[in-house]
Every structure is written in structure tokens, then in C-alpha cells.
Symmetry: C2
């Protein structure tokens, strides 16, 4: 029995401005064929012997993740982190979850939600080989044959082949992210592999490895698990306790356990693999079909990700252009790593552009800021069928709501009524109000806020279907 | 007596996406120090002996031009073309205007609204020299000493110096835009100047030159003038008759008259000059102070014109980046001429992006389309103090108006009322309505249109202060 465990975490800073904290890398779709999360789900869900995948993610991403799965008719269980604590606490919590639900012998196949693999058959073969080793009590890593002297990955030195398991090796040593000279040496010498960050191990063995090599992590996560277990009635959306999870050490599973264990093995991946760490990696995925709204006059070797606007490119070479409603990136491909410097600059300037997009996702749907100026703000609000915003009140702003599609149920002060397309209502400051979609198609309204203070924190919530305060 | 005549015409195709038919090159401000039209007005208005400048422009640009002058506390008379007919009919109509108003001896100093000249003192000296020759009956051109073998200008071959007039020459010959080989020959040989498109001539002499060398233009413009004169009571906003102006030949003053006359002289310009024909010329104007919203990581020799969005530039060289709300241009500087190809492509695709911006200027103010989707359109409408939209009705759309600043007077069906900030009204399809600004500060409203057909041509005008139908 294999339980695919999808770690859906990292923000993907170097994929700014597409990737931001409010819409991180796993949600991105680079070629219209599905997001990284959707592709990862599809990759593991179709493995033989696989159970319903378990997704570990921040609780802020739960609704978006569920929505993305829905788009590919996918289902998964969720293990929700209240805060990010690197991979060790997340993986150990998953081990508790799997151990308790499926038993100590259940094999966890741990994969990242933001990697790209095309060769499904080869992936399935490697996963099956890893699962066999895991069932024998091994902590199995997946090594990727290096294509060049990459300095952004850890390396695994493979030892003797494991008899009877094609492509499987003992592990001689682990090496953290090397400098270029060391990376080149390892590449020339051979026998070194990129550490992909995927693992395979039984739940029981994972618990044991932590207990042996990282007692402080083991203790902290056990305390969190015990509290969380008492609080959660359902496995399908299992929330980790905030206080005790917050107290877990912020360290990686490699550092806490994998590099210390004498029990590790490596499967040499037979499949293609990219962690799509930056825009040059995206551009390298293959020949791009130019987006329709690019007017290209003699540009070569460029990658474009566009939005609604027309982009005219004249005589360009070797560039990445990423156009979003509020930010534009133009970078030489071989300098794409420096997107990190842009994000650092934004942080230093106190900008929010690295955290949020102008479309924000919420449990009930999304909103997009269309315009903001002194005294007013205009949003398009989309509410999914059957969903509802909280019953709320603002001290400093009035709101005009105009329905443009679908049907709204509106609470406005002591009145409750339905509002159809082209109908509007006015909610004075101080009025308790709620917007719901009682229908079966999406509801879209235009909201014009007026007032001297229009920030999101001027909200008093009286009741919320999603437990927000 | 010098009458500065400002020809405010050309669209400036190669300055797309900043320059478009609805907001052409003379209105552009490249460095925040004023638009080309404003700078041109300032340049000629301060000349000694100069009268109120006369601006010849398309009647569609009248309100915007007046607004731009107002911003620099400038005044001018206007001669309005109903359609564009190249420079010959425009200049001849101006000659009639000046002849009739100021007399045949009045000196016209004809300048383009979209050239840039920094050295005001040198310009004033050249203009004075030209005016003296013009008063002696010469048709004076301004020659610019070539800086390189430009193939985009006509050339003037200078002849003998005119005694007593420093920098003034007889003219030996005119040469239309040359190929590169010829341009290089002329540059090497010396004695050739770029034809700047500025002229100086008395009104009477200009009329005589046309009568002698271009009788068909002379006759057509005289007919237009006679009809127009009968229709216009005021000199300050003088409209040329549509039918008869439309029948004038579409040719340049160079071709019609200047190249044929034996009476021309040339002033060698003592001033710097740029016609800012394309983005590389804009970039060449000088070291740019990087806009605040550009995050530059190691880019060099680039020119940025940005809007509201952040632009991150990593490792770029020798590029021009022009960012507007609905279109983005990224071009190698030395390929900037090919912006024309982009505009050709847009035309071929039936796009309106080369004609209109998402902000449209109207006699009463402006509107900006904030969002457009199936079934609705959102605009921000700004009305200047004392101005008023037409009394109108739409068959297919309803409108929600929300005032966000200033005070509105609203006609809605059979009601008329005032609306202040944060107040709204709903105008059903079929209702006659009008929006006015009775106040002394700008009025801004958000309009949300609903309906199945939302184009600008669904409008029935009952009354309009600006004579529109």
C-alpha cells in the first residue's frame, strides 16, 4: 500500500512576479496544460497500489488547492500546517498521520508539488523500486543524474548497487549545496546525483529515524500530533495544532535525518526531472508556442508569459518577459537567478508586490482590485456557488454592490433580499452585511468602496463559515 | 510683426504605444517637464515681436490642446482642420487667416508641434534672421547641420551665403529622403542640411507662391477659405469648412511649393534640434533619471517609460521599454524604427490599440475603461468644472453611477438632482440622462454599464454643448 504524500510548500521566490506568497509556485501553470500541483496529483494518483494522495500544505492554501484539484476532478486528503516549519516537521507529522490511519507498514511516497516530470512510465518504475526498498525498511532517496554542475542542489554520492533492484544503490555520502568548483569536480568524477527532495519510506521507519537521529524534532512533533489528533474528527481535512506546531524546530528532513541515517538507499531516477527553480528553467522546458498577444518582430530565444496586454518585442534575444497586471519582469535568461534580488529590493522598500497579486483568493472565491485611489477602491468579487462571505461590518467605508452576473443573496442591515444582474445595493458604513451565492453558477459583483480608510483590516466579522476571525 | 504658426498634426506612429491617434505625439511628455506642444508654445510665445500663436490642428484635438495650454497658462488662437490633408492645405489656410487678420506683410513663423529644441537663445536668433529675410519677400527654410547620414529627412543643398545675414544662404537644390548611399555622399561632401520642416514667410508671399507653383491647391484652399470665412465669427477658434477642405489635394508644402520656388533661402540653424521620430531618438535626448518604479539590476543603456506598474529589469542592454496600461513595447534601440511594423500588424489584425488608449479625452474631460467583460464595462469618468456631457440615451445598456469625488448634477429621466461623494444613481436603458459638473473642482464618478451591447455607438444625443451629434 502506497500513500502518495504531496509537500506543497515553497513560495518560489525566483518565479516572481508570477509566483507570490498569496499564489505560490505549485499553483502556476506555465503552458496551459495544468498547474504544477495538478500535474503532481495526476502523476501520483495513477500509480499502482496508490491510496488517495495526502497533501501537506499551509492552511491558507487549502481552499485554492481544493479548487485546483476540482478542476482536474481530483480528490485528496489534506494535512494543514498553521505555519511553515521547513520539511522535517511536515514530513514527520505526515508519518504520524499515515501511521495512525494506515498503519506502520504503509509506504509513504513523498513528492514535492512543484517539480515537473514528463515520463510517467519511468517515474512509476522508479517509484515501485523505491517502494520495494522502503517495504524492506529503507529510507529511500531519489537521485537525479546531473546534467551540469548545478550549485543549487545537494548531492548524493551513490555506493554499491543493491542486488536485484535495478538502479538502486547504497549511499556513500551526502553533500550540501556545493560551490562551483566542487560541483564541477563531482560532475567530472561521476557517481554523484542531485538530491531531488523526493523520498520513500514506511511511516513506522520514518518515526523511528526521527526518534533516533532528531529527538528534539521527534518530541515536538509528537506533542503537536497528540493535541491535533484530539482536535480532528475527520481525516480528509486534518489541521495541525497551531501552538505546538509553531514550537517545532525549523529544519529540513535532509539535515535532521537523511544525512545522518545509516539506513538510506538511493534510486537513480530513470525519469526526466526539473524543479523549475527559476525562469530560465521554465524557458528550457521546450520550444514555446508564442502567446497570441505577443507581436514578435525578429526576436529569438525569448520566453514570454503574458496577461491581457499586447506585448511587442523587437529584435530581442535571450530574454524572459513575464507580464502581470501589477508588475513586469524583463530579464536576461542567464541572469534569471537574480529575480531573488528584485524580491529582496521589494521587501526592503516595504512593497507588498512579492506577497500578493491584485487577485486574492479566499475560501468563498476571489476578489480583484481594479482601481485604487484617494477615497475609493473598486473590486470585482467572485463568489462560488453555495459559498458565502462572512457576516461583517466596516467602520470607515461604505460599499456599493452591483451584480454583473449570477444571483446574490444580500444581508444589508435588517433586510435580506436577492439581487440579480444589473441590480445594486448600497451598504452604509456601520451596517452589518453579508454576500452569498445561493445559485449554481458563479456570482460576480462590482464593489465600489468609499471612505477615508479602505484597508482590509477595517472588518468586524460576526459569523464566518470558514472559521476566520 | 511675427505670427508663430504651430502645425500640430502627425500621429507619431513610431512612438507607439505612447503615441496613438487618440493621443498623438505633440501631447506626449517624455521627462515630466512638459509636452512637446507645451514646449513648442513656450518656445515661440516668448519670441520678440511675436503675436498670440496660431495652432493649426485637427478639430478632434482642440479641447485637449486647449487643456494642455491651460496647464502652462498659455493662450493661442486655433485654426481647426476637419480632416488631415498634409501640410500644403494647412499652411495655405493659415496664410489666408494671417493675411486677412494681420495683413499681407505679417510674417508667419511655421513650426511643428512635435520637435524639440533646447537652445532658446539660438532659436530666437535664427528666427529673427529668418523673419528679416521673410520680410524681404523670401520663403525661408531652416536647415539642420546633419549629425549622421539620416535617411528619414529631406536634404537642402545650401548655395552662396546671403550678405549681411549670418548663417543665411541661397538654396541650390532640394533632395527628397535619400537612400543610405546618397545620404552618406551628401554628408561627406558637405553643404547639405536636413530639411527641418520649419518655414518663415509673409502671408502675402505664401499666397503668391502657391498661386504661381500650385494653382490647384491654391484654388481649392481659396474656395474652402471663402466658405469658412463666412461661417466663422471669431478668430480665436476658426473652423475650416469640412466639405471644401476635404476636397483639397493631400500634398506637402515642400512638394507643392518650396521645391519649385526660385525664391527660397535657408537659415542654417544655430540651435540643437530633434524631431524625436522614434524611441531611439527619445533615448538619445540624454541620460535618463530612472523612473521610481523601475527596479534595475545591472541593466545598461536602456530607456524606460513606465506607468503604474513596477518594472524589474535584469541584465538588460540597449533596450527601450515602454509600458502602458494596455500595451507593452520592448525593443532593441537600434531597431526602434520597426515599431512601425508593430503598428502595421495591429492594423492588419483589426486591433484598435494603435488608435486609442484606454483613457479617452473628450471636450468635457476624459474617461478610462477600467474593466470590460461579457455583460458589463466599468469606466472612471472625469468631468471638468462647469462642463457637461451630452443629454443622451442608450438603447441597450443600463448605467450605475457612483460619485467618488466632486459634485455631480444628474438628469435621470424626468428628475434632476445633485449627487455628492459616495452617492449613486441608476439609469435604466431608455432613460434620457445627463451628467454635469456644476462645481469648481473636478468630478469623478465610477460608471458600471450592464447590458448585452456596450459599444460607444449605442448613444442617442439630444443636446450637446460641443456640437457633437
Amino acid at each position: 500500500m502506497i500513500i502518495p504524500v504531496i509537500l506543497s510548500g515553497g513560495a518560489g521566490t525566483r518565479l516572481w512576479p508570477a509566483s507570490r506568497k498569496g499564489y505560490p509556485k505549485p499553483f502556476l501553470d506555465f503552458d496551459g496544460s495544468g498547474s504544477l500541483l495538478q500535474k503532481t496529483w495526476q502523476r501520483v494518483a495513477q500509480l499502482a497500489d496508490s491510496q488517495l494522495p495526502l497533501i501537506i500544505t499551509n492552511r491558507d492554501y487549502y481552499f485554492q488547492s481544493r479548487e485546483q484539484l476540482k478542476q482536474v476532478s481530483g480528490k485528496a486528503d489534506f494535512l494543514l500546517e498553521p505555519v511553515g516549519r521547513n520539511t522535517a516537521p511536515a514530513i514527520l507529522a505526515a508519518a504520524h498521520y499515515v501511521n495512525e490511519r494506515y498503519g506502520a507498514e504503509a509506504v509513504m511516497l513523498l513528492v514535492a508539488a512543484d517539480h515537473l516530470i514528463h515520463d510517467q512510465a519511468a517515474f512509476a518504475r522508479s517509484a515501485a523500486a523505491a517502494a520495494r526498498l522502503a517495504a524492506q525498511g529503507k529510507l529511500v532517496t531519489f537521485g537525479i543524474k546531473p546534467q551540469f554542475a548545478h550549485t543549487g542542489f545537494g548531492y548524493i554520492q551513490a555506493g554499491d548497487a543493491i542486488a536485484g533492484s535495478e538502479g538502486c544503490h547504497q549511499v556513500t555520502s551526502f553533500h550540501e549545496k556545493p560551490d562551483l568548483a566542487k560541483a564541477e569536480r563531482m560532475l567530472a568524477e561521476g557517481g554523484y546525483f542531485w538530491n531531488s527532495g523526493m523520498f520513500c519510506c514506511t511511516a513506522g521507519q520514518m518515526l523511528a529515524e526521527f526518534a533516533e537521529h532528531a529527538a528534539h524534532v521527534s518530541d515536538a512533533v509528537r506533542q503537536c500530533w497528540d493535541v491535533s489528533r484530539a482536535d480532528n474528527e475527520h481525516w480528509h481535512m486534518f489541521a495541525l495544532d497551531q501552538d505546538s506546531f509553531g514550537k517545532c524546530p525549523d529544519i529540513s528532513v535532509d539535515y535532521a535525518v537523511v544525512e545522518k541515517s545509516a539506513n538510506v538507499a538511493m534510486v537513480g531516477a530513470g525519469f526526466d526531472w526539473s524543479d523549475i527553480g527559476s525562469w530560465d528553467a521554465v524557458a528550457a522546458l521546450g520550444e514555446q508556442a508564442l502567446p497570441e498577444n505577443v507581436i514578435n518582430i525578429d526576436s529569438q530565444d525569448c520566453y514570454f508569459q503574458t496577461g491581457k496586454r499586447v506585448v511587442a518585442a523587437i529584435g530581442l534575444e535571450n530574454l524572459v518577459v513575464v507580464d502581470t497586471p501589477d508588475a513586469l519582469l524583463i530579464s536576461r535568461k542567464d541572469r534569471a537567478q537574480d529575480v531573488k534580488k528584485v524580491v529582496d529590493r521589494l521587501k526592503a522598500e516595504g512593497s507588498m508586490l512579492h506577497e500578493v497579486h491584485n487577485t486574492m483568493y479566499r475560501p468563498w472565491g476571489s476578489y480583484t482590485v481594479l482601481e485604487e485611489a484617494a477615497g475609493y477602491k473598486i473590486k470585482r468579487i467572485e463568489v462560488k456557488p453555495g459559498q458565502s462571505l462572512s457576516l461583517q461590518m466596516h467602520h470607515h467605508r461604505s460599499e456599493h454592490w452591483i451584480v454583473v452576473s449570477g444571483m446574490a443573496r444580500v444581508v444589508n442591515g435588517d433586510k435580506e433580499f436577492l439581487l440579480g444582474p444589473n441590480e445594486s445595493t448600497y451598504i452604509p458604513a456601520g451596517h452589518v452585511h453579508r454576500l452569498s451565492n445561493p445559485g449554481v453558477i458563479d456570482l460576480a459583483i462590482i464593489e465600489v468602496q468609499s471612505g477615508q480608510y479602505l484597508e482590509e483590516d477595517d472588518i468586524v466579522r460576526f459569523e464566518d463559515h470558514y472559521g476566520r476571525q
